[in-house]
């Protein structure tokens, strides 16, 4: 049977001021790994808790396999969750921790044995089964928490920042493991993180959230290649995308001496926001490309490359543009450079709404939600 989780117009209001989830709709199918990605406090955990039934929605519905579970208690929803703190029972052994959910559901003990056996084989937990959580390392605890959800064979997996308590090296390792693990489950997975690398590497689809609003719901590569608005563009990708407000004249954006034709989607703006990722900005090779002159004021070594911050004198305040430049270009602080902006790598955004303006190279169906009110962060 195919499993499915749907959120319909889900809204949560804690009080007059705090509305961390604002009319979010989405659906996750069998074998899909959906990541809720957004800055801290944007409502990711609240969405997860609404799905789990730990919070009641103010309006909207949660559907599991087509059935409205909004009024059901958490125990009746057949979901399993990995908490950020793992929430392991400190007084129980690993085996008891893993078995606890099954025991509560009155699973026959033979069945419990086989399922635990499967999961311990799968995760290699054999040596840990008789220990208590206090005697485990962070990574081991995390595996036990995952094992506890896997044995349940639920209709939906929920994971709230399960890697945030691990150190960087271990995180990378466990990330890869999680991807394999949940890839085999054929069950909807909703994963919460504020870490874009996790979102990009793990997910089949990413839901970018800000301020309680769904900003974009797309495959990871699309989120990166065609960000739906300025917020997504700025949030995804590291180092952050450069944004320049440039004047327009007769459907051309003026960048230095080289006007760039605006995409078809644009009306006749007098100004437009140009976005370009640092990895796409390069040192100008000729006079025949759109480029701007500026002064280097900061050089950060990234190994093979330098991240160079350049101050460009515009009409008003000077703006900063960052570019990734190979270390073979021996740039010095205060030297003058000419930065080129290849037109095919430019993202265009509406100055007032921050929404993406489609370009010819965009895939035809950009399914970004229409609700993106004032997502522009300047």
């Amino acid at each position: 049977m195919d499993k499915k989780l749907e959120l319909v117009d889900l809204r949560k209001q804690f009080n007059a001021k705090v509305v961390p989830v604002k009319n979010v709709s989405l659906s996750v199918g069998s074998g899909e790994f959906l990541t809720l990605l957004g800055p801290s406090g944007c409502g990711k955990s609240t969405i997860l808790r609404l799905i789990a039934g730990l919070e009641q929605p103010t309006s909207g519905q949660v559907l599991i396999n087509g059935k409205d579970v909004s009024r059901l208690s958490p125990g009746d929803r057949n979901i399993a969750m990995v908490f950020q703190s793992y929430a392991l029972y400190p007084h129980m052994t690993v085996r008891e921790n893993i078995a606890s959910g099954l025991k509560l559901r009155k699973t026959p003990s033979g069945e419990i044995q086989t399922r635990i056996q499967d999961v311990t084989d799968f995760l290699g937990l054999h040596d840990l089964m008789d220990r208590k959580p206090g005697q485990l390392s962070g990574g081991q605890r995390q595996r036990v928490a995952v094992a506890r959800t896997l044995v349940r064979r639920p209709d939906v997996f929920l994971l709230d920042e399960p890697l945030s308590n691990l150190d960087a090296l271990l995180r990378e390792h466990v990330r890869a493991e999680l991807k394999q693990l949940f890839g085999t489950q054929n069950t909807p997975v909703v994963y919460v993180t504020h870490d874009q690398t996790e979102a990009m590497t793990l997910s089949t689809r990413v839901a970018v959230l800000n301020n309680g609003y769904l900003q974009q719901l797309d495959a990871p590569e699309r989120i990166y290649m065609e960000p739906a608005n300025r917020f997504v563009a700025g949030f995804i990708g590291s180092p952050q995308m450069n944004f320049l407000q440039v004047p327009c004249e007769s459907r051309r954006a003026i960048v230095g001496n080289h006007p760039i034709p605006l995409p078809r989607g644009a009306n006749m703006p007098t100004e437009i926001t140009l976005g370009i990722r640092p990895e796409h900005v390069h040192l100008a090779q000729s006079d025949h490309e759109p480029a701007l002159d500026g002064q280097v004021f900061l050089i950060e070594n990234l190994g093979m490359h330098n991240l160079v911050s350049v101050r460009i004198q515009g009409q008003g305040e000077p703006i900063t543009v960052r570019a990734i430049v190979g270390i073979e270009h021996r740039l010095a602080i205060d030297s003058t450079v000419r930065l080129a902006f290849p037109p095919e790598s430019i993202h265009w955004f509406d100055v007032s709404t921050g929404d993406r303006i489609q370009t010819a190279s965009d895939s035809t169906s950009v399914v970004s939600p229409s609700v993106t009110p004032t997502s522009v962060t300047s």
Binding site: G53, L54, R77, M81, F83, A87, Y89, G101, R105
Partner: protein, 301 residues
């Protein structure tokens, strides 16, 4: 290699502990050892308080002393009844206070008031509450038509015991509940959320999470209360003076009478020694369980 720093620290440590050890020896070890010594002598009005060696005479007398066994029985009843009632009620109150509701701060403050009041005052108040002529208990029961004539609460051995137990429970339950509340607040909330997701009922969560994780606090409360209840003196002394007919006389009251009223110092000392050893035994057993439960709750075992 000799660890000079460690050795020096140890020396400083001893140096700093000596005053405390001296005080302990003076106020704790000396009286007990002296009582132990005195318990082998007859020192009473019969011999003008001149100590006369008596061997185990006092202890043999104790074994045959019906009043002693009666007080020991009373003490045990009082201890078991108050400690178990206080634990159950204290747990209930702690669970309620652990919920978030409007005015929780005020309710918490009010809840601890009975414990903050002096025992003698409370005992006096309860004496009046249980008074057969003017007491509020009888008044209420009469008004409700449950009884036709006032009950002489403090005049009947069984009722008097029930009365002092009620008074002690009223006074000490807040202490237990505050102690347990502190324990409850240290249990992470997401354990309960994990339970809820797994479909546990509140009672199952209480059994599987609250109780085992609260065990250290429960045992501490038990330890405190066992020791306190076993030595109960002030409350009963004021409310009934051990009466009627020795119906509420506890070991402490008996010791007090023996020494202060009958001036029988030798026998009193023997009583003290036996009570002391009994108490040490009870506390040792409780401590054993405390350590085990603590280790278990922290996941070390």
């Amino acid at each position: 290699m000799v660890d000079y720093v460690r050795a020096q620290e140890r020396r400083t440590g001893w140096f700093l502990t000596i005053p405390a050890l001296l005080v302990l020896a003076l106020v704790f070890a000396y009286p007990i050892l002296r009582a132990f010594w005195q318990s082998f002598f007859t020192i009473n009005l019969g011999n003008q308080l001149t100590p006369a060696f008596n061997g185990l005479g006092n202890y043999i007398r104790m074994a045959q002393d019906g009043r002693f066994w009666n007080t020991l029985w009373n003490t045990t009843i009082f201890t078991v009844a108050t400690v178990s009632l206080e634990l159950v009620l204290g747990m209930g109150i702690a669970l309620v206070l652990n919920q978030s509701f409007k005015g929780r701060g005020i309710v918490r403050t009010i809840a601890i008031l009975p414990w903050a009041l002096p025992t003698a005052l409370i005992a006096l108040a309860w004496t009046w509450i249980f008074n057969d002529q003017y007491g509020v208990v009888n008044d209420l029961l009469l008004r409700l038509g449950l009884i036709s004539t006032g009950i002489n609460w403090l005049g009947d051995p069984t009722l008097a015991m029930i009365s002092v137990i009620i008074a002690d429970v009223w006074k000490t339950t807040p202490f237990i509940s505050i102690l347990l509340l502190a324990g409850l607040q240290s249990i992470p909330g997401d354990l309960y959320e994990a339970q809820a997701i797994d479909g546990a009922s509140p009672w199952q969560s209480f059994r599987q999470v609250t109780l085992p994780l609260l065990l250290p606090q429960i045992v501490i409360a038990l330890l405190f209360r066992l020791a306190q209840a076993f030595g109960i003196f002030d409350l009963i002394s004021v409310m009934t003076g051990g009466g009627p007919g020795g119906g509420t006389e506890t070991v402490s009251l008996y010791i007090y009478s023996t020494v202060m009223r009958y001036l029988d110092f030798g026998y009193g000392a023997a009583l003290v020694v036996v009570t002391f050893l009994l108490l040490v035994l009870v506390v040792a057993i409780a401590t054993f369980f405390l350590n085990r439960s603590r280790k278990r709750a922290s996941g070390a075992v």
